[in-house]
Amino acid sequence: MFLSGGPRLGFKTSDFSREPCRAYGKSQVNYISHNQWVCVRFIQRQLLLTERWKMIRGKPDDDEYWNSTKFKAFTFDDEDNEFTRLKESKRAVNSIRSLVEDEDEEDDVEKVNWSGEPIGSISWSVKETASSIRSTGEVRDQSSPKIDNTPSLRKNSSGYSLSSLFKGKAKTGSLQHFSESFSEQSNRNYGPELRKPKSEYKDYISDWTPEETVKRMQQGKAFSLEKFRSLQDKLLLLDETVKAHDGNVITAVLIFLKKSLSKEILFRELITREIALRHFIHYLKEMGENKLLVELFKTLGRSEDMALMQYKDHLNIKDENRRRDFLKNCLSLPFSQEDATHVLDHYTLLERQIIIEANDKHVESGSQADIFKKYPRKASILNMPIITTLYYSCFYHYGEPEGTYSSPANIRKTFRISDKQFLLTCLGARAKLKSWFDVDALFTTKNWLGYTKKRSPIGFHRIVDILQKNNAPVQVLQEYVSLVEDTEQKINLAQKYKCHDIIINTYRDLKDRQLLIEYRGKVETDSSDYKKIQELLGNSQIRWKN
């Protein structure tokens, strides 16, 4: 049966082809004896043979008949016909239009569709062929892309092929198997195995040196890692692989070592092999083997990397309570000093967000508080950054006593938020609500004599910007513009936001008559500002400088 192979057997070879792989996969795990192994290989090869047959023969004849487009059967429920015909004519019309109207489409101008991709480019065709699935072949031909205009090859270049340049490394166009095994699959494209020169059989049994093995792996030829049994052999192989710098091969050997060595020994040996170690870490990361990676970092004494690695896992946890608990466990990890405080903050923040969220949800549904009715919440506060949380708190929980978790004051203190950040966030939230009184209170300080004064850790010009963005009325803006220290900046802002009073007062203080006269032209003649300017100009008490 095996020898005849071929389609005559009456079953589909493809039904089988998957099976041996599974069987084989198992055999790897169990580390079967050499004899068994040879046996498995034999079966494997035969099955490949049948596949090769399939390749050579093509499909069975009747399949060919039923599947070829020529013999497409007519069916009544084939609604596509009308549809495709419409499409066809539309295309024809379009193509005529382009002939008549579009002068740009000269022969030597590359055709470009609207989105700018040249017609006939690959990304254009992916869309095009995929969308024409429902239409028939003829329609597609109509729209078929222009033939490539590339000038024919120059003689001297036509003979080159990237792969043929390296005869020594000749690619085999094949399956190369990295596992500790087998497979003359490499030659499955090239016809029945029987025809192969005998010398090639030597490949399976001969003892390759580590150098030869690595070379074969790089060349995509069959190889076997199983014969590297002793630790010393394995390490020799690893060192040889690292010398070749081919990450693909290094990874393959590392997988073999990972399977065949205890992790204690593997880790111990990797410590002295920096490059192999890096590749191993990268491999574990790619495969998502975090547990092993954590162990490795521990062995290496890279405790901070390990801590971050574990911390990273919190992102995969969707449920907030579980995430919080996970973060709590992270607190005991050996982070660097700075990171440790941030992770603690992260935990505290989430813990608090959960409480606030539950509480606010309750309040909102009971509609006990106006603020939630007036400004319904758009999203939950869970997992938001701390500054966003502070903004939220300033928006919904302003004025709560410092003892409550959700009060801005408490958040500010717990998370050591800088004065600037606190002020800006608070200002943003209160200005959004148009609570100008609260805004005012933010800047007002009393000195020991009981006088009030406005102070700010950030320049008042920025305060003005923020207020203006929140559509503050001129009266409010004016107050803060007047607090800007730099005179020139003050005038600029006042002009931008039309705070006439400030400008007039500033010019008065500067005793600049000319500028005041000039400005009189800019305000309306019957306004109070105009009158004020007139009064000032008529005031004989002022000693104008010009």
């Binding site: 998957r18 390749m55 599947n67 995929a130 340049l165 390296f166 790619e286 992770v343």
Partner: protein, 665 residues
């Protein structure tokens, strides 16, 4: 399609043809009709190599995009997956194969890995139980893709991350292989120079591979005189700075991928018939190919953006004049000649209209206050102003919750220009960033530290000023219109990487030994023996050709600077550029940026800017105007937008321009 590749000093079309030949060979190996299932990331790079027509000639009938579930029906014998060796893609392929309808006639499966096959991926396929279903598993070695007449890219996205963050050297191995391919086609490169750890590795691998193929020497006269390998981490400053060349800015604002840029469509609606334009409004972004095949683009791509307006308006005048010629054509012969030139003129006209639109879009951004403020801070850092203090602009940006990428780019720049940040400054930024953007960005900052983009000052001495002075990295009097030094590409800052190339050519690295020692990694020189009889005999005055390979990416502005050096009359060296990937600072920080919600953080810089413009653009804005000033009157008194009919300025009766639109447009 590919003609522009052959114009340059080195005919890169040879490389393209070799790649095409390989592709044809693979396709013929799978006999019968085929459907290709594409990894979306590959269609771009493949587009640089081949057209659909080539695939069609080899019986490719359908093409699909790779996605999970059952494959779309296609009446073909072969299904070929064209994929990058990525594990997640293997899972999708396995899904495809498993859900294949077994009742239907069986189809043959093949996989083509680009650029290399990976044992890890094959293992994954085996774990999924589908490895046996593939008739062919092959690799398509697409190491270096010819991008333009003087530009090769590996288009390998992860290279910077792999080398400098993961310390995985696979991409270096591919680089070395790519260089071997190049040498097989263009002859052995006699001299190899390099700076940096990765450069050293690549050179070692090349020398080793050469020893292995000692027998199969190609008998080709060397085209390249020398190779310069540069590690990206030798010069981290350059990609962090905002590029100020035309092409660089297009990349900064919209992002150029595989030589294409996607632009907001509204500006381009005008090019359809004016009356119809409003009927079917384009909603998809307009995609444009950018390369030197377009004459106008080749002319302006490397100019400083401040010089682009003048160049465009000059071009507009030339084209107008050419169209005016028709009035002078009296005889039949003259008219015939005019008509024969029409196609070329029309192409030039539409190219001008396109670039005027793009330039306008970009100008909206470069003239914005935010752009100016950002640039000011960048230039302060580059000139060494207050790099040891907390910068108030960065502080403000964080308070305003500007995109994190922007913040990271500036903070990294400050760190690089100060040879690391002081503990106090570092802690302050870290706290502000984590509080504003979320504590999980601990991981992002950690990654930045690992790559060296962000670091703590260890020694008390900041050596950046020495480097800046020795290599003349800052030029006060950079001339943007008529440049006389490479510093024009960043309006004052001369890219460090290109200075290294420049000094190497003349007077040689020996003159800057001290500085080279301050930069990370070793510097070295190697010579490769040429077979007898292949020694090039240089003609008097003949230029040398140097291949500069950037390991970890290159920016468009750096390429512009190298092109500038190639064109210098007394330069003596012409440059060909090769890289693992074309990058900008946003991209560089982005690949390191850690985000669990893709799309939220990624490409923030370039995504947020165009959105703003999209909203602002008026769809009926059919009239283009060149940089606000119309030149219809000699004294430039006309402030009206210049009316363009089909992209050509239309003069009014009094010589001033005519515009039906209100002047305050």
């Amino acid at each position: 399609m590919s003609a522009h590749l052959s114009y340059g000093r080195v005919n890169l079309n040879i490389l393209r043809e070799a790649a095409r030949k390989d592709l044809r060979e693979f396709l013929d190996k799978c006999a019968g009709s085929k459907a290709i299932v594409w990894d979306e990331h590959l269609t771009g790079p493949f587009g640089l190599i081949a057209q659909y027509s080539l695939l069609k000639e080899h019986e490719v009938e359908k093409m699909f995009t790779l996605k999970g579930g059952r494959l779309p029906p296609a009446d073909v014998k072969n299904i070929i997956f064209f994929v990058r060796p990525k594990l997640e893609l293997m899972d999708i392929i396995a899904d495809n194969v498993i859900s294949e309808d077994k009742m239907h006639s069986p189809r043959d499966f093949h996989i083509l890995f680009v650029p290399r096959r990976s044992m890890l991926c094959e293992q994954r396929l085996k774990e999924q139980g589908v490895l046996g279903s593939f008739i062919n598993i092959d690799e398509y070695i697409l190491d270096l893709i010819p991008y333009d007449g003087d530009l090769l890219s590996m288009e390998s996205e992860g290279a910077f991350r792999e080398c400098y963050l993961e310390n995985d050297q696979t991409s270096l191995y591919h680089t070395a292989k790519g260089l071997m391919t190049l040498q097989a086609l263009y002859g052995t490169i006699p001299q190899i120079f390099g700076k940096g750890e990765c450069a050293r590795h690549v050179a070692n691998m090349m020398l080793r591979m050469k020893r292995e193929f000692a027998g199969s020497q190609t008998q080709i006269l060397p085209v390249f005189d020398s190779l310069l390998l540069l590690d990206r981490n030798v010069d981290l400053l350059t990609p962090l700075a905002t590029q100020l060349t035309y092409e660089g800015l297009i990349d900064e604002v919209y992002g150029i991928t595989n030589g294409y840029v996607k632009l907001p469509p509204e500006k381009f609606a005008a090019q359809k018939k004016q009356g119809e334009a409003s009927k079917d409004l384009p909603t998809e972004p307009k995609k444009m190919q950018l390369n030197s095949a377009e004459e106008l683009y080749a002319e302006i791509r490397d100019k400083n953006f401040n010089g682009v307006g003048a160049a465009l308006s000059k071009k507009a005048k030339i084209i107008s004049a050419a169209f005016e010629e028709r009035h002078n054509a009296k005889t039949v012969g003259e008219i015939k000649q005019f008509v024969s030139q029409l196609p070329h003129m029309q192409a030039a006209r539409s190219s001008l209209a396109n670039h005027t639109s793009i330039a306008e879009l970009i100008k909206d951004i470069t003239t914005s206050e935010a752009f100016f403020d950002n640039l000011t801070v960048e230039q302060e850092f580059m000139t060494g102003v207050d790099t040891d203090k907390v910068n108030t602009y960065i502080e403000d940006c964080i308070a305003q919750k500007d995109p994190l990428i922007k913040i990271l780019r500036l903070v990294s720049m400050q760190s690089v220009c100060n040879n690391g940040l002081k503990q106090k400054v570092f802690d302050y930024y870290r706290k502000e960033i984590l509080q504003t953007y979320g504590y999980e960005h601990l991981l992002t900052l950690n990654n930045l530290e690992k790559t060296g983009l962000l670091k703590l000052q260890t020694s008390t001495r900041n050596n950046y000023p020495t480097i800046r002075k020795t290599l003349k990295l800052w030029m006060e009097d950079a001339n943007e219109q008529n440049p006389n030094d490479i510093s024009y590409v960043y309006s004052g800052y001369a890219p460090l990487s290109i200075r290294l190339a420049q000094v190497l050519a003349r007077p040689g690295w020996r003159s800057i030994e001290e500085v080279l020692k301050m930069l990370p990694g070793p510097h070295f020189e190697e010579r490769q023996q040429l077979p007898a009889g292949l020694h090039k005999k240089r003609q008097q005055g003949e230029n040398r050709t140097t291949l500069v390979f950037f390991l970890g990416g290159v920016t468009y502005a750096e390429i512009a600077a190298l092109r500038f050096l190639s064109q210098m009359e007394d330069g003596g060296t012409e440059y060909i550029v090769a890289t693992t990937k074309l990058i900008n600072g946003a991209g560089e920080a982005e690949i390191i940026l850690f985000s669990q919600q893709p799309g939220l953080e990624t490409r923030l810089l370039s995504a947020s800017v165009p959105m703003r413009i999209w909203n602002k653009l008026n769809i009926l804005h059919l009239y283009l105007y060149l940089f606000g000033t119309c030149e219809c009157r000699a004294d430039r008194s006309c402030r009206r937008p210049q009316a363009l009919r089909d992209g050509i300025p239309v003069p009014g009766p009094d010589g001033a321009c005519v515009s039906p639109l209100p002047p305050d447009l």
